[in-house]
Subunit: 132 residues, 4 copies
């Protein structure tokens, strides 16, 4: 079974919209934050990466919304990772903590740009080795 | 050919992130705004809809990111619509206005909840008839 | 000395803008979240409050920006509270955790609407008594 | 009377929160966007400015919230500008278009950083001359 990375987060009220539930776009924010925390955990920061002109860019995000989170909900945001050719795939889920209900799951495909050009995708292989 | 709906928008600088480009989550905002403007154009507001307990909910969003928009870019956000059973599918694109480059395209699937329960999906058929 | 309430938060990269620092508007989000967490800690949720038609509304926000936070920074968001007539004043600060540098401080004035009308402001006195 | 700059904007539903009204932080976004559009109108873009290491930074924002905007509202966002020593003051208002009701007004103080250091504030004098 693949190693997964997870963090706990809590819905902030301003992330909810008029329907009283978390706005769809915020799940992309949660998932982005989880990927960045994952990178931090491996000793890579988004800022440093950008500073040396290595920019992971999302080329596809495919999200399934199951059960809406609402203000104050605590949730577990989790990911596993896979490399296929030049792309890195993040398989991400968001579960409500109280009952472990699946709220949102998504596949995020990222490409690695080096100096603005598409790389072969192996830039992070050494760093990611425990997860691949 | 299917009738499409489009609006023109302009990137606001605060929508860009450290990489200097529009953050991925904001494309979901742009697309949501386009669907709501589309609904307005048909005489349905999101607020009124919510007030009578009819809530369109996004169940899936599948986005392909092509070329990033950046601060000040003007873009055309366009959609066509299709009903398949209980779901409404929105096919949405975002093109940079200056050169008509495709920046992002996505398929958004929505279900219609009436009093919190999944409906048969025909609620908007009369309203949407010019687009179906 | 007045009792204060504080929480620890961490900057998410998407909260930073093209300048590489937290966008000004997000400090209002951080401070709102702190007030809501403060209310939670007293047994009041924003949702429940809204459900019984009691809506605290911000009538003024006066923020001083000192040192910008950047991606990954951990910070302490703190508040004290005072009631003056019909208004509640929140004195809020945001300090970077690593060196306790003051990043932002603000005064937020809130009025309490009950059924949409301005109240005398004593609605929360019992709940807030340890902080007033 | 001082020359003012104004733009028309429309509330997007995702900018509203659980209370069904525009979240307070978004007024800072609206006002920022208005200042940036003002700069664009004078031939200065935020990106270019940042590129040559000239960064206007907000050091204070003092906002008074009067009447909340809600989803779909069209509003006029207006500003006048004044220079006092090293600082530029923007006096900004947001009026609902339908009845010209004042929704929010604020004073935004900005300092001009050149290569990260506080400047004397005269960098934009020539550009701003029609408004000072």
């Amino acid at each position: 079974m693949k190693k997964n990375f997870e963090i706990e987060m809590k819905v902030r009220d301003y992330e909810c919209d008029t329907q009283g539930i978390v706005n769809n776009a915020n799940y992309l924010h949660y998932m982005e934050n989880t990927r960045h925390e994952f990178m931090y955990s491996l000793g890579m920061t988004f800022k440093e990466s950008h500073g040396i002109n290595v920019d992971p860019v999302v080329v596809r995000a495919d999200l399934h919304y199951k059960i809406p989170l609402t203000g104050g909900d605590i949730f577990i945001s989790s990911l596993t990772v896979e490399r296929k050719g030049a792309k890195i795939f993040f398989y991400q889920t968001i579960h409500r903590k109280s009952d472990r209900a699946l709220c949102c799951k998504g596949t995020i495909e990222a490409a690695i740009l080096i100096n603005g050009k598409l790389s072969r995708g192996d830039f992070y292989d050494e760093k990611l080795k425990d997860y691949l």
